[in-house]
Symmetry: C2
Subunit: 80 residues, 2 copies
């Protein structure tokens, strides 16, 4: 059964408040060389093969449920 990983991230033009907060916390801990921290979601799932191409099916799931097309981008990796 193929394992699929979906990475959902905010569009780069949008302010990532959570990422900004984590970046400030890392600086406060002394990691001043860290920049451009962005935080997103990773969704992993097993998909039983039913003849339909897995990647096309996951793309449909992203568009219908897993990602917000207005504010987010997604990447699909089939881990095999």
């Amino acid at each position: 059964m193929p394992r699929v990983r979906v990475l959902v991230t905010l569009k780069p033009t949008l302010l990532d408040a959570q990422g900004r907060t984590v970046q400030e916390a890392l600086h406060a801990l002394g990691y001043h060389n860290v920049h451009q921290v962005r935080i997103g979601k990773v969704i992993e799932m097993d998909i039983a093969d039913e003849g339909q191409p897995v990647e096309a099916q996951v793309k449909e799931m992203c568009d219908r449920l897993l990602a917000n097309p207005v504010t987010e981008l997604y990447e699909i990796e089939v881990l095999g």
Copy 2:
């Protein structure tokens, strides 16, 4: 400046309530072939090279701030 991606996921033995909820929503949409949905965080950041090995530094950040060692696992990918 190397770009680094950290994937933070719940330990497999723990119940992932958010993943379970998403799985039920996918089933309700007709995707009955989806199983074992797990949801985690992806953290991406640029790290300026200061001589210290990047991966070791990020591991330290995970242990100190980015992941909860009691409930979570993390994977570090240096994207180059």
